[in-house]
Symmetry: D2
Subunit: 343 residues, 4 copies
Amino acid sequence: MFVVLRPGCTSEQRNRLVRAIEAAGLRARVSEDHHRVVIGVVGDEDRLRSVALEAFDGVERVVTLKKPYRLAAREFHPADSVIKIGDRAVGGTALIVMSGPCAVEEESIFQAAEAVSAAGADVLRGGVFKPRTSPYQFQGLGKPGLKLLRDAGRHVGLPVVTEAMDTRHIDLVAEYANAIQIGTRNMQNFALLKAAAATNLPVLLKRGRACTVEEWLCAAEYVLNDGNDRVILCERGLVSFDDAVRNLLDLSCVPLVKRLSHLPVVVDPSHGTGRADLVPAMARAAVAAGADGLLIEAHPRPADARSDARQALTPETLERLVPQLHAIREITRGTPFAGVPGT
Amino acid sequence: MFVVLRPGCTSEQRNRLVRAIEAAGLRARVSEDHHRVVIGVVGDEDRLRSVALEAFDGVERVVTLKKPYRLAAREFHPADSVIKIGDRAVGGTALIVMSGPCAVEEESIFQAAEAVSAAGADVLRGGVFKPRTSPYQFQGLGKPGLKLLRDAGRHVGLPVVTEAMDTRHIDLVAEYANAIQIGTRNMQNFALLKAAAATNLPVLLKRGRACTVEEWLCAAEYVLNDGNDRVILCERGLVSFDDAVRNLLDLSCVPLVKRLSHLPVVVDPSHGTGRADLVPAMARAAVAAGADGLLIEAHPRPADARSDARQALTPETLERLVPQLHAIREITRGTPFAGVPGT
Amino acid sequence: MFVVLRPGCTSEQRNRLVRAIEAAGLRARVSEDHHRVVIGVVGDEDRLRSVALEAFDGVERVVTLKKPYRLAAREFHPADSVIKIGDRAVGGTALIVMSGPCAVEEESIFQAAEAVSAAGADVLRGGVFKPRTSPYQFQGLGKPGLKLLRDAGRHVGLPVVTEAMDTRHIDLVAEYANAIQIGTRNMQNFALLKAAAATNLPVLLKRGRACTVEEWLCAAEYVLNDGNDRVILCERGLVSFDDAVRNLLDLSCVPLVKRLSHLPVVVDPSHGTGRADLVPAMARAAVAAGADGLLIEAHPRPADARSDARQALTPETLERLVPQLHAIREITRGTPFAGVPGT
Amino acid sequence: MFVVLRPGCTSEQRNRLVRAIEAAGLRARVSEDHHRVVIGVVGDEDRLRSVALEAFDGVERVVTLKKPYRLAAREFHPADSVIKIGDRAVGGTALIVMSGPCAVEEESIFQAAEAVSAAGADVLRGGVFKPRTSPYQFQGLGKPGLKLLRDAGRHVGLPVVTEAMDTRHIDLVAEYANAIQIGTRNMQNFALLKAAAATNLPVLLKRGRACTVEEWLCAAEYVLNDGNDRVILCERGLVSFDDAVRNLLDLSCVPLVKRLSHLPVVVDPSHGTGRADLVPAMARAAVAAGADGLLIEAHPRPADARSDARQALTPETLERLVPQLHAIREITRGTPFAGVPGT
């Protein structure tokens, strides 16, 4: 840790900082150069977390060296983590395709399950608790939908993943689902993260639409720190100034996360663009960028869907797409996750 | 509602749309002009909410005319809403100042309460459940903090407001607080909004850091629609590409909300900038923009604060600031909320 | 075009609008439904460009149906445009790789040219007029650099592309280069666009870092409208709130542009991420998304580069990367540019 | 300057860095602590500008201490700069109001000049070279407009400011105008900045809509470094994800610039919101935030304006607004530009 002082800071200001650092059991090394004073802190900077050095008079900037997450870091676990959803592996060499409708509907979920299974999907996804911007939009089927989703998954032999939105529903969701999704709006709903961790199911953690990669890994750390090491990260698009797309899909986060963390990362090009006509291209691009899998909305008849119809693929398009994804995965498989020489 | 078709759409595509609109009990008026076909929908467009017209083949765009919120709209309630926190009014002609430390601390909360009361604050604010990016940061005092906050408020005769983060804690918070804050990360935590609505306490609803004004008013609608009409909106800064400030305070949302809604709107320049040295200027600007009040962090000794120390004002600065705020309010009081002629 | 009036507008306001529309030689069709009045405009909406309908009292919104660009639109030219830089084709089935150092340096440009040629690049790129944030940064070699770049290109048999920043330098650049780059900061420098158009050389038009796809196509339209139909679009990353990357590369613009326009689009993952360790993954992803080519910075010894060293690939990495790009292109070649069914 | 090395860097990597630093005539001080190596650079870090330390193997981050601008910095010139446009002062204690139509039109410019003069404006503004997104929009009157603008200014005794967009037009503009505006799209058009500097007229430098405050001050530095110390900064709104407003006006940059720089800063709430109904509130807020002046669009009959009609005030609204602005200025005048204690 370094504390950079403002030009013209007083020696009294400097001394107060040194005393605060030493009071925390660390050493302060003052260097003065041209017009700037910088204090280097020797020792474990965690001890200074409860001292607000940046609020001391005369301080311009505090530069920390430690990352705010530990268990999620690549340094903590150098190999790629591989996480099972039901009998399917996420991470490592495999490529996982999770697909299904945005919202579970009684009249279509079995047909959807058959279609995505036939198209080569590994996991069935579908929402039963739907976070909707307006209270007047369809809010999902709730508990009856959970049973439908599980039954449809069993019908075709696929594990299922669905979103939980309320700490009071986590146990109910855990009863029916093989993995729990935390949605983009809840990425920093820390109570929900801790409740999901307690189920010991895999947690599919969507990135907040205006959250940095570091904040995302810190959210994962909440789950890991509570003893659940089964976190799968999911990029689903960021807020954008261009309304030609619903969200701005950030694929560069894929190789970046691979460098910073051992956790698997999948991509949701459906919410990531909001337009079915852009989904196949972005699904291919996600795999080429190194994603471990995809979350793709598909519906037997998109125009009949009760939620996000515009972004759902038809079964036919999904079926043509999946083999392309595996072919691209073949090409990129050999490339190590990072490092200029070998990428 | 209008449905704009793509250039070159077929008559079959057009007819399928007309049939879908008529099936919902509405009339479709097709107009064809130069190279474009547009279908105007006559009747209540709410009936089409569950029909995904935008996913029909050949559709370029669906233009809706109805706002997605109703109870929050100025049209529904033309006069300004005035909401009481304890015995203090928010909205209308008054200017409310809510102040206190970011996090309630046993050793300082009484002193903080005395200081902000002496400086002219109307409400004491302080966090006991703290949403923190990393699990290793100070998470707040929890229940003991609630009692401390209430007692400190009583000590100086001020009502108190504090944040709730978990549906399971709402009743506990409601027992001690005069108003419940929903934080920026939870603006679209719909389960929490509904739980807060059920307390019938005033809800201080912070804007999500990447949420549009329309999304914000829709979040308010969740509370209003559950029968609690005591919502106070709070702007606290948006995500920014410039790290010179912690957040980008959007003051234009103040006159915009005044035009669109009857709900009072306050501004938090502390989180809105993250820098104590910018807070006074932005507090003044917020009042000049028409804000009904301010949420300002203050701490007896900022450098000792356990959270967000850099943005806390000293009691002395707060004391100098408050009279300026009231003086600016005097100047702007006469200006109607909107409309070119009279603003 | 539609003009949506505010709830409660007066008949006088409505009549003034109708008169203004009719004065432009168009027909106004008023429809009234529930609480809303909407005026449909029949006829060529271009005639209303100089009438500010949105500024009339009582108007809530004006919805236009025509795109603000014409020559750049797919409708105008349904087939993909193919543009030659020297003897290399951009667009259509080929994949073009443009590579070279950020800034031309006397001591390294010949070695760089040999390296990128050996690695399989088709075009040599290098800057001689450098747009730099601070006036104290290296500003490029200027005219002597132009000659060096051309000679290095000839040495290895590659055409060259370089940036022009000033209308007064366009003719000089055109003397030496096979294509003219317009940088991200100058995407809306309309005088420069028109000067570049006049050279009749291919124009490599980088997207502004906070410009929408529509604004980008409008900038292309400036060149096309001046009679130069050789525009190549280049995505190079958008402004981002996450400083883990220098820019946020928007790959979804690739299939989007393919749908909206016939112009070829290439991607610059070097500026698009600012980190050499992310460039190979994003180059692969760009091709998978359907890009017609890449602009990749490479330098014989990145640490010696005088500009943007952190993002330059070594020749070895480039050499390993290029065959992967062609292999991915093979997989995606058959997919049509857009449309749900076939993508 | 500090160079932070990656965990696990080798001693060879470390030594190469030390040699590079020493080769530039500086001293390298290596500190090793827990798992991190940090190299402090002793001496003038400018000498390392041409050495790409961040591209050396093993480097995680380079932390620089020097600002990239010098002449624009408050440290270089502690007192507020006061700049004359004609006989009107910008900066210091005065509040300057610049007003007029977006585009100069023959039929209205004299009437507009009379109106803004009567309303209390100090400077007449109007565009004759208009940067327009599409080539099919009105591009301004060009040279004849310059003469009209000057004559209208003389008619009412006001100096005039107008935008230049092309280095080849700078001298022409300088012949007629009392100050030259550099528009938001050209903030980093460095050739234009240098040409404007050479006129020795005041330069009104609008902030790029996605540029940081530091980039803005660096753009000012281009002008200052060429010997023209008459730069006036103008905030005009940033790119936004919320299309309820045209741009997102950043008022926090006002006190921030006051702290970092001695240059005067004015605000353009017209482009900053794009909506006339929000302009008065934001104009008041800008003054309360400490702005030295305002740039406000006004037009005798907004609905007849040929450009940006929606954001123009009527003369009546402007006339009511100006005295409010001066009254708010009175209240804030005494507050020093920065520093927690005194603000």
